[in-house]
């Protein structure tokens, strides 16, 4: 076969995929954006143009305001917890402890399990019942250890309900952060640390002045990955709280979007929430992706 025929065949081979991405990613985002400025409520689409009124309504909606506040709290706490626990565990494992492989596997295994599965278990661990005879899960542990003052209403707490979700989310993702950091620590040449040791630096100083500064790139990728997860978190919140806790104490935009669209059938408003989620994630990831893809494609 001639090379020209092969070149044509190459293009034919990838065109279904290209077409699929064009329609299912770009086309559908445009469609959602169109629905977000429409009057579509109920099962039949209604594309009457209503400008940005759906977004304006969202901004005034108490539930959506709680969602935005919850997302902000969740993202900060989740990032802080994952990064610090991940870094500490990576440094601990870097001390050539015996059984390092085993510990690493234990810290990382939650990543392999679905948020729905872990949600079922955490729902019972974070059981919000506070009456002594109905205590269970972690509250029961606190009670049996005589630490009754720690007993909490978890995800049903009116102000800090969302913070309770940070615990299972961190449980699931901090091991992954540890793996990222450990790979980063291990990529630092031993000679560098050895040289510092010869110069009389203490282990603490070595971490402070050599290891940590070299982990900046890892931290950046971790922030992007974890931030991406936290801004669209859905499964875990649904599995633990079903409909967002008490009075939306643990509600998030993705959960709101789903119930608004597929339960209340308010498609225009659901689309508007979806676009807000897309934009918040884009602000975080697009600059980073443009930068990494340039280097990726150049390879």
């Amino acid at each position: 076969m001639s090379i020209r025929k092969d070149r044509l065949l190459a293009i034919i081979l990838i065109s279904p995929s290209v077409l699929a991405i064009a329609i299912f990613v770009y086309g559908f985002i445009a469609w959602t954006a169109r629905a977000a400025v429409s009057a579509w409520e109920g099962l039949l689409p209604d594309y009457t143009f209503v400008g940005f009124s759906n977004f304006a309504t969202l901004l005034r909606d108490p539930r959506f305001r709680i969602d935005m506040r919850n997302t902000a709290i969740f993202t900060c706490l989740f990032l802080g917890a994952c990064l610090s626990i991940g870094l500490i565990l990576a440094i601990l494992l870097d001390q050539r402890a015996r059984g390092e492989g085993l510990f690493r596997n234990i810290y990382l295994f939650p990543m392999a399990i679905s948020f729905i599965v872990t949600g079922v278990v955490w729902r019972w661990l974070l059981n919000p019942a506070t009456a002594v005879e109905r205590l269970s899960g972690i509250n029961l542990l606190f009670h049996q250890a005589g630490l009754d003052f720690l007993i909490s209403k978890w995800y049903t707490h009116p102000k800090l309900g969302i913070a309770a979700i940070v615990i299972p989310a961190t449980w699931q993702m901090s091991g992954f952060t540890m793996a990222l950091y450990l790979a980063g620590v291990r990529s630092i040449p031993d000679e560098l640390r050895e040289a510092a040791r010869v110069d009389g630096a203490s282990e603490l100083q070595i971490y402070r002045h050599i290891v940590l500064p070299m982990l900046k790139a890892v931290t950046l990728s971790a922030v992007i990955i974890l931030g991406h997860i936290s801004l669209k978190i859905f499964d875990l919140v649904m599995a633990i709280t079903q409909e967002g806790g008490q009075g939306y104490s643990a509600d998030v935009p993705a959960l709101n979007m789903w119930y608004t669209t597929f339960r209340a059938l308010r498609f225009a408003r659901g689309s508007a929430i979806a676009i807000v989620i897309l934009l918040t994630i884009a602000v975080l990831t697009v600059p980073y992706l443009l930068y990494t893809m340039r280097t990726e494609v150049e390879r």
């Binding site: 810290y107 392999a112 661990l125 542990l141 793996a179 993705a254 990831t285």
Partner: protein, 272 residues
């Protein structure tokens, strides 16, 4: 002496962390293996008096059809997306044409969008083509939205295969498909392992598409489990046993093929 103290502190910390990560699994296991008689929220943390399978039997009876749905969904979608990704990766690394790098970048963006932003059109589309509610519809959706990640993994792998090998095969008379079949495919086995493990795990664990696009008879196990957990009728111990059954396949993959899993993880961490 000082060294022994710091070593002890190190192990205390490592073990304390391990206990935190194992705590939910501990509760899951002790609850699942209790008999119906000894299940009680007040004794949640206690070990079972023996090994009983009451809870597993009850959970399996409820979830068996869904476990089967998940299995056929994950296997089919994984195989299809691995084949598609390997062809795309091959073309985009060894048969570059003008604009192919830009095309690749444009495709990759599909990996980073939150799926909420395409969900409503997707439902409408599936209704139009008559696949809404069916398992085949969900297979199609997983194959399509996996194109970016599978293409990325294979493209990066094929890019590391020396172009001389392709040229040599070409001189020997092999065409595009011959080179793929006899040169690239055998070389790409490690990538297939990474992609298959990654795809199987993420499709098995997926929830958003499944809950939105399937009807009850085609529910994968994640949706069925969520429904079980939401009902007031099913006891919490059966829910726990069900959770264990749903987690088992991907847990086994992690235990036995963990290092491949990790490689997929690094590549796919940003997906959807």
């Amino acid at each position: 002496m000082k060294r022994r103290v710091t070593r002890s502190i190190l192990y205390v910390l490592l073990i304390a962390a391990a206990m935190f990560y194992l705590m939910p699994i501990y509760v899951l296991l002790v609850t699942s293996f209790k008999s119906f008689q000894e299940v009680n929220l007040a004794t949640m943390w206690r070990l079972p008096s023996g090994i009983y399978v009451d809870n597993f039997a009850a959970a399996f009876e409820k979830l068996a059809p869904n476990l089967y749905n998940s299995l056929s969904l994950s296997v089919t979608a994984t195989i299809l997306s691995a084949i598609l990704g390997s062809l795309n990766g091959y073309v985009l690394s060894k048969w570059k044409f003008r604009g192919s790098d830009l095309l690749f970048t444009t495709m990759l963006f599909g990996m980073f969008i939150p799926y909420q932003s395409i969900l409503i059109p997707l439902v409408r589309f599936m209704q139009t083509i008559g696949l809404y509610g069916k398992l085949w519809g969900l297979v199609l959706v997983h194959v399509i939205y996996s194109i970016p990640i599978t293409t990325l993994i294979f493209r990066n792998y094929y890019a590391s295969v020396p172009t001389e090998m392709v040229e040599a095969a070409h001189i020997d008379g092999a065409g595009l498909l011959g080179i793929y079949r006899y040169v690239m495919l055998p070389l790409a086995i490690p990538s297939f392992v990474v992609v298959i493990i990654w795809q199987f795990t993420s499709i098995w664990n997926e929830f958003l598409f499944a809950v939105t696009l399937t009807s009850p008879s085609f529910w994968p196990v994640t949706v069925a489990l969520q429904n079980l957990a939401g009902s007031q009728i099913v006891e919490w111990n059966v829910q726990m046993a069900g959770a264990f059954l749903a987690a088992l396949p991907t847990l086994l993959i992690y235990v036995f093929l963990g290092r491949f899993f990790l490689r997929g993880l690094m590549a796919g961490a940003l997906k959807g």
